[in-house]
Subunit: 216 residues, 2 copies
DNA sequence: TCAAAAGTGTTCTTGATACACCCATGC
DNA sequence: GCATGGGTGTATCAAGAACACTTTTGA
């Protein structure tokens, strides 16, 4: 491969997770154009001169999949020399967390299709997106208990059982009901709401919400 | 400011810390060329097409200060639109840790001078390097007990008292002697050597070394 | 009255903290 | 023999882990 001297292109890629109540899902787009045309890939693309990396991530995500989301967290730069056959492209990856049911998928631009995949049934990905995905998963796991990050995968109102399913899915291990509740409540990240479940064939669970962050 | 469309330049910057046994020091270069000519700045510069970010960081560091070091850890991308008056430049920052006494400072290229500064006497810095430095400090603090990172600031052989001074300096708080020793030894990151201090006017301390990492 | 999930406290274990004295060496 | 820093153990406290039964609701 030959590198045009003095030119390094900058791109962003988004690892966007969703949670269905049962499983973790990953948002992918099918590439419409070369390279890797027809393959599945993380949403992403080149950064334009007048936008920040987060803005670029949000724009590409929205363009390619219809998902509107401010990128949540930077997970690192990917810079292998041969990661893009077009030449020298460095990509900064972001982690995004949404509820799939809040999203209306729509593909435009260089995406032929946008879809959610079960995280344990992800196809082979274009570029080095497999490695980026792994870093995204790791980051999500590590950040689970150090902030409200994971709770973004739940809606505005959720039961503690919902939250527990989520934490178990991300952590990959079952958790004790009582310890989980004590621990999550002790973080102060969630607050109880007045409302409860209606019309369930068992005792109605109380709803909780993610506490508004202290910084506004 | 006007951005030439479609062009984003990519740079790297290095937050290089050293430890003298007493104080944390930061490696800075004085800029020889515009912008910010004459001001102090973190070593760094533009990435060339055929090199990885780490390689670029190592090269710039060596060119501008004479310090040879494989960059240790990526600490994030800095991408404010107006961070560089020359136009749109995104910089990926790296953390580096060395022993100042192992380094022969030499400035070349666009550095007029390279110097170590006490971390609590750092001058105003060019670009957004003040913010980068803050992130570097935070990262060092956070990573202290989660890996061998901090120990790179010490030599091949060090006493536990040396290590304690270092951890106290980085953490900003005094530590209990016995608890520190237990904790550090329990991490398994250090191994005792046969050698002891010679010629000190008190009981000779045992030397320790950073244990070779399991991955080679 | 049964099925299905919500909800709740206590004991035990483990890791972190607080704390004070004797040891080796050079001068 | 004294000044200087090296080196060690135990009791206490707090956080995390293990563990089983009662409550509510709709069908």
């Amino acid at each position: 491969m030959v590198f045009p001297r003095g030119i390094v292109s900058l791109a962003v890629d988004c690892v966007v997770f969703g949670f269905t109540g049962e499983r973790l899902r990953l948002l992918l787009i099918r590439r419409a154009v070369a390279p890797f045309a027809g393959m599945w890939a993380l949403p992403g693309g080149f950064v334009e001169a007048g936008e920040t990396l987060r803005a670029a991530a949000g724009r590409e995500l929205s363009e390619e999949s219809g998902v509107a989301l401010a990128a949540v967290e930077e997970i690192g730069a990917f810079d292998a020399l041969d990661r893009d056959p077009r030449g020298r492209v460095v990509s900064v990856a972001f982690l995004g967390l949404v509820r799939p049911e809040d999203c209306v998928l729509a593909s435009r631009c260089d995406a032929a299709e946008a879809r959610w995949f079960d995280l344990d049934a992800v196809p082979a990905l274009a570029f080095d997106h497999g490695a980026i995905l792994r870093r995204g998963r790791d980051r999500l796991r590590d950040a689970l208990w150090s902030g409200p990050l994971g709770l973004r995968l739940l809606g505005d109102a959720f039961t503690l059982t919902d939250a527990q399913r989520l934490y178990e899915t991300i952590g990959g291990a079952p958790l004790d009901v009582r310890n989980f509740r004590k621990r999550l409540l002790a973080t102060g990240l969630v607050v109880p709401l007045a409302a409860r479940q209606r019309g369930v064939a068992h005792r109605a669970a109380r709803y909780y919400a993610c506490r508004p962050s202290p910084s506004g």
